[in-house]
């Protein structure tokens, strides 16, 4: 998958507004593989909506959203399953971890599906993100910042064309945010993935190709 195109896309709840002042809504915009995008927005401007439209679990928008020219409204449930296993990795704002599973189990739940990473690699991530001592701790007992790091690792277990992160560092300190930014840049250079990051204030520090105002 090379391109994500939005053509006149706008959430239905916004559709009666004449002017949104947004670079995304009701505009034509293309996200390309291998590039990084920062979408900055105020609260309530539809940041998470954009992520959910691209990830295919909400369809309450107008306009056309297409992957490599294929309208995603035509995709079947099976198509979306394949996309979520191979093409797009997602880090949700609400993380969507399983609190009763340990942090490694949460990561392995994804990696078992994709078989993309080996255990050693995952161990080095735990160490670099400073939560190696939380390896076998249930995620429900961890702080939100720690949970964000687990969700981030889970996303990296995806053999993706695009990685989408919805406010990935909202509860992280600058140091750990910086580590995550460097890991992402490494992924971009190694695998050529496209990265889309949203932010309402704290931003994930890296060299973005494009900054967009939502």
């Amino acid at each position: 998958m090379e391109r994500i195109e939005l053509d006149g896309v706008i959430p239905k709840v916004f559709s009666d507004k004449e002017q949104t002042g947004s670079d995304v809504w009701n505009k034509k915009i293309i996200f390309e593989k291998g590039k990084s995008y920062l979408i900055e927005a105020a609260s309530g401007t539809g940041k998470s909506s954009l992520c959910s439209f691209i990830y295919g679990y909400r369809k309450d928008y107008e306009g056309t959203l297409s992957f490599d020219g294929r309208d995603v409204r035509m995709f079947s449930g099976r198509d979306w399953t394949v996309i979520r296993q191979k093409n797009i990795g997602m880090m949700f704002q609400e993380l969507r971890l399983f609190p009763e599973l340990t942090s490694i189990e949460n990561v392995m739940l994804k990696n078992n599906l994709t078989q993309f990473r080996d255990l050693d690699k995952i161990k080095t991530w735990f160490c670099s993100l400073g939560i190696e001592d939380k390896w076998s701790e249930p995620v429900g007992k961890m702080s939100f910042g720690q949970q964000q790091r687990v969700a981030f690792m889970r996303m990296l277990c995806q053999p993706a064309d695009f990685l989408i992160m919805d406010e990935p560092v909202s509860h992280l300190d600058d140091e750990n945010g910086g580590i995550m930014g460097r890991m992402l840049e490494q992924e971009m250079s190694e695998r050529g993935v496209g990265v889309i990051v949203t932010s309402i204030g704290r931003r994930l520090e890296m060299n973005y190709n494009t900054k967009i105002k939502l």
């Binding site: 990830y55 679990y57 449930g77 099976r78 399953t81 979520r84 296993q85 997602m90 949700f92 969507r96 971890l97 399983f98 009763e100 599973l101 189990e105 392995m108 739940l109 994804k110 078992n112 599906l113 994709t114 889970r154 995806q158």
Partner: protein, 392 residues
């Protein structure tokens, strides 16, 4: 790991409730079929092959009918209707003599004479195969068949009380009777000889050929209105015979139709039992489905997250489907075991009261249970999958 996640909220109590209810339903359905299969051969003919039988039919004699002079005879319409019934193979008419008959007997120096009556039925209905059961016009001697009961009545009743010799069937056959026929102003004496004894026909029988000739000669020439019919049927246990007779007010001379009634009641009882079993089964299947829906509902967030991180709906549905199908299969297996145990118990009871009881095979009831298992499992699998598909 997936199961560790999904088994949360699986309520053992609900599943046990379903299991017991489903077990009851399935056992009742299977037991109904099995019991019917085991018991119904007892009422049918022993060898199981189609064995013909004969039923003698009369109309009910009622007091009002007698007072109003209502005839107890069958009209030609009624005879035709009887022939059209699905259980009927053949219908024969009893033809009574319409002239006066008296029979005399010289025996050991005693002369006895009595008024009597004769009847005939078509020869195919006569259960005695006597070589001399023929009559041609002008023949001096008339062959006669009497009910075996008559001989027994004489031998074991009359002869013993009066110190008279008992008679064998062979001896009777050697006795010659004097038969006096009279009517239309004519009188004729013929010889009569008893050629056989019938278990089936409770009358004094002469060949139909003789009756036709004698009725034409001495009778009053009126229309033949039989008061008794003999019917050949395939299966006297057919409950439709009893129903038909009941509707039309007919009676039979023996209780051959009782087994028909019993079979009918048996079918009715088994039908009711099976219906109850099916209702219980259907309810229990709903319990299972509701339990699974409830588990799915409680796990909606987890299921949604699993689907969003890339698990396919079929993969996520599988643990629940396996759970449901294996529960169903366990129920079926346990039902077969219970069926065998209960059958063992009632077989013992039935063997004591029914001679030659050996029961039918359990294949049919097991197959019926299997069918139930399949229908329910397929429905469960589809329902679970649909529910999961509807999550996102």
């Amino acid at each position: 790991m997936l199961w560790k996640l999904l088994r949360q909220h699986v309520s053992i109590a609900q599943l046990v409730g379903f299991f017991v209810a489903n077990l009851c339903g399935m056992v009742i359905v299977m037991l109904g079929i099995q019991f019917y299969k085991d018991v119904s051969p007892v009422f049918a003919e022993e060898d199981g092959l189609i064995k013909k039988d004969y039923i003698v039919v009369t109309k009910k004699v009622s007091t009002i009918g007698t007072l109003t002079g209502k005839s107890g005879t069958f009209s030609s319409y009624e005879v035709e209707d009887m022939k059209l019934q699905p259980f009927t193979v053949n219908v024969g008419l009893f033809q009574p003599a319409r002239f006066k008959v008296s029979a005399g007997l010289s025996f050991g120096g005693m002369n006895m004479s009595t008024a009597m009556f004769l009847e005939s039925v078509p020869d195919t209905f006569v259960d005695v195969k006597a070589d001399d059961w023929t009559f041609v016009d002008g023949q001096k001697e008339i062959p006669i068949i009497i009910p075996r009961n008559y001989l027994n009545l004489y031998n074991f009743g009359f002869a013993r009380s009066r110190n008279l010799p008992q008679l064998s069937e062979g001896m009777i056959g050697m006795v010659s009777l004097d038969i006096v026929l009279s009517g239309n102003g004519m009188r004729e004496i013929k010889k009569g000889r008893i050629v056989g004894f019938s278990n089936r026909l409770n009358t004094i029988l002469v060949p139909e050929a003789f009756m036709n000739i004698a009725n034409a000669k001495y009778g009053d020439g009126g229309e033949l209105r039989p008061s008794r019919l003999i019917i050949e049927v395939n299966n006297p246990a057919d409950e439709r015979i009893a129903q038909y007779f009941n509707e039309n007010g007919y009676e039979t001379e023996d209780n051959k139709l009782d087994s028909g009634r019993i079979t009918w009641f048996l079918k009715l009882a088994v039908g009711v039992v099976m219906a109850v079993g099916l209702v219980i089964s259907v309810l229990s299947f709903y319990i299972l489905l509701l339990s699974i829906y409830l588990i799915l509902q409680k796990n909606t967030d987890k299921l949604e997250n699993l689907l969003l991180i890339g698990y396919s709906p079929s993969y996520v549905a599988k643990p629940y489907q396996i759970l449901a199908v294996s529960m169903n299969f366990l129920v079926w297996g346990l039902s077969v075991v219970l069926l065998l145990l209960i059958r063992e118990w009632y077989s013992d009871v039935l063997e004591d009261i029914i001679v030659g009881f050996d029961g039918g095979s359990i294949v049919l009831s097991c197959l019926a249970g299997m069918l139930l298992f399949f229908i329910v499992s397929v429905y469960n699998v589809i329902a679970i999958r649909r529910k999961i598909n509807s999550i996102i």
